[in-house]
């Protein structure tokens, strides 16, 4: 495939974004009267970010992690070779406020899958969605509550979090004929 990769944000820029997200989240939580939430990261990039945010926010319960591969709505439509981790929610989700963390919000399908999976564990009181990057192309009515950055991206540009140490955001540009 013809493509070029370039660094968009480095570790320190991402750390600064995460700090801003924590501030925004605090005001969001106090507005909604949320105390003592639990946090869940979506594999793989969302887990890397959630580990940082979990520490910065001093969340009491251990971090939860979610593998959504087998909840994807296109699971049997696209040939894939899933390399998966087990999901791990070390708390009951019943009546808890959940902070759900992902790296890039685009179509919304990953979040739909994640919510379906969370509801197989129980009935949470609420879910707040945190995403480091938000870009267009939404295909479902799903919106984030707290976002790190909304970069102006062309349809042939693909943004990807690499990590876990150090974290970086890369933009990959695909030539028009490949993007189609």
């Amino acid at each position: 495939m013809n493509s070029s990769k370039k660094l968009f944000l480095d570790e320190s820029a991402i750390t600064a974004l995460l700090e801003e997200m924590v501030l925004a989240l605090h005001s969001r939580m106090s507005m909604q009267g949320i105390k003592d939430p639990v946090m869940i990261g979506i594999h793989t990039g969302g887990v890397w970010l959630a580990r940082r945010l979990h520490k910065m926010l001093n969340v009491r319960d251990q971090l939860g992690t979610l593998e959504i591969t087998f909840y994807r709505d296109d699971f049997t439509r696209i040939a894939r070779n899933p390399q998966v981790h087990p999901s791990n929610l070390p708390f009951s989700v019943d009546d808890r406020h959940i902070l759900l963390v992902d790296d890039v919000l685009q179509t919304g399908r990953t979040i739909r899958a994640a919510m379906n999976e969370i509801f197989d564990y129980g009935r949470p009181a609420s879910i707040l969605l945190l995403s480091l990057v938000e870009r267009g192309c939404r295909e479902l009515p799903i919106q984030p509550h707290v976002v790190g950055i909304r970069p102006p991206l062309k349809p042939n540009q693909h943004i990807k979090l690499t990590g876990p140490e150090p974290l970086a955001l890369e933009i990959e540009e695909r030539r028009a004929e490949d993007a189609a």
Partner: protein, 322 residues
């Protein structure tokens, strides 16, 4: 066509699961990792994922096996698939035609996965070679040839109790290795995962002459064979072998090869005891061992569901036949 060609799609993904033979370590590890995910699903309040919603899994059993069929059925249901159980009485005279006719009928019902159990070696391969392109086939035991999902649930059990690194392990397989498709698949899986020492233990009449060429150490004395092993896998003894002059009486077999608490003391102190079930108590092993603290036999049953969910999910992620 070699086994490997038919089992993998053009990008090397697992498309049918017919035998361990020819599969490389990354595929076996992919199955074990996915099994980790599904083992956790089995602990949830809702033990179900939607990945195979709307798909039809047909259990095509030409040989009776209630428990294997049941675990495949439960695995398919936990993946949200629909399940059809088709028990076929074997007709010795017109096997080939019957099999193909049966296949066409089941394809007409839009089956996506065939789980095949047959007393002829090669039956699952035959079906994989003749099924419609979109159909995936899992071998649930064919003749003396292979039982790959049993082998993988045994590997998963070993990994669960002994850690992800198989290389330093000593594993003993005890019993009728000659007639056992389970043992054949286990040996291939253990070798592929890099186990340093696989031993087979049994009377001369029940160990294949070519056993050493499989890369195993052969013992005819269990007290020597199980010394310091980390894992003891007991094979089921088919009752019909007893009357076929290959074996002495059950009592004598138990005296010579049965696993007792006394013999278990010869193994590594943390060794686990496995058995594919159903157990013949007092023939392959003493009840005190089967129910004892080192036995992981019931864990094998639980893990069997997760491993079969993993295999079904992975093959449904592969491309159709070219």
């Amino acid at each position: 066509m070699s086994h490997r060609d038919i089992q993998l799609d053009k990008d090397g993904r697992l498309r049918h699961f017919l035998t361990i033979e020819g599969l490389k370590q990354p595929i076996l590890k992919q199955i074990l990792d996915a099994s980790d995910f599904f083992a956790e699903v089995g602990e949830r309040p809702i033990k179900k994922v939607p990945s195979l919603k709307g798909k039809l899994v047909t259990n095509l059993f030409f040989e009776n096996s209630t428990r294997t069929r049941t675990t495949f059925e439960l695995a398919a249901k936990r993946l949200s698939a629909d399940v059809l159980n088709f028990n076929v009485a074997v007709s010795a005279t017109s096997k080939g035609e019957t099999l193909l006719d049966t296949l066409r009928n089941l394809e007409a019902m839009h089956s996506d996965i065939f789980v095949v159990r047959h007393n002829d070696s090669g039956a699952a391969h035959f079906i994989a070679n003749n099924a419609a392109p979109h159909v995936k086939v899992i071998n649930a035991g064919d003749g003396r040839h292979a039982h790959p999902t049993q082998a993988m649930l045994d590997m998963y059990t070993i990994r669960h109790f002994k850690g992800a690194d198989f290389t330093g392990l000593r594993v003993a397989i005890v019993g009728d290795v000659l007639h056992s498709r389970v043992a054949r698949s286990q040996i291939q899986a253990l070798n592929t995962l890099g186990v340093s020492e696989v031993r087979v233990i049994g009377p001369k009449t029940l160990i294949p002459a070519a056993a050493r060429s499989l890369g195993v150490h052969v013992y005819h004395n269990i007290d020597e064979g199980i010394r310091e092993v980390d894992v003891v896998i007991m094979l089921r003894l088919q009752k019909e072998r007893m009357s076929s002059a290959l074996l002495p009486s059950e009592q004598e077999y138990f005296q010579l090869f049965g696993l007792t608490e006394k013999r278990l003391r010869l193994t590594d102190p943390k060794a686990i005891v496995m058995h594919p079930g159903p157990i013949n108590r007092g023939v392959e092993m003493a009840s005190a061992v089967a129910d004892g603290p080192r036995s992981v036999i019931l864990k094998q049953v639980t893990f069997g569901i997760a491993v079969r969910m993993a295999v079904m999910s992975i093959i449904m992620g592969a491309a159709p036949n070219a």
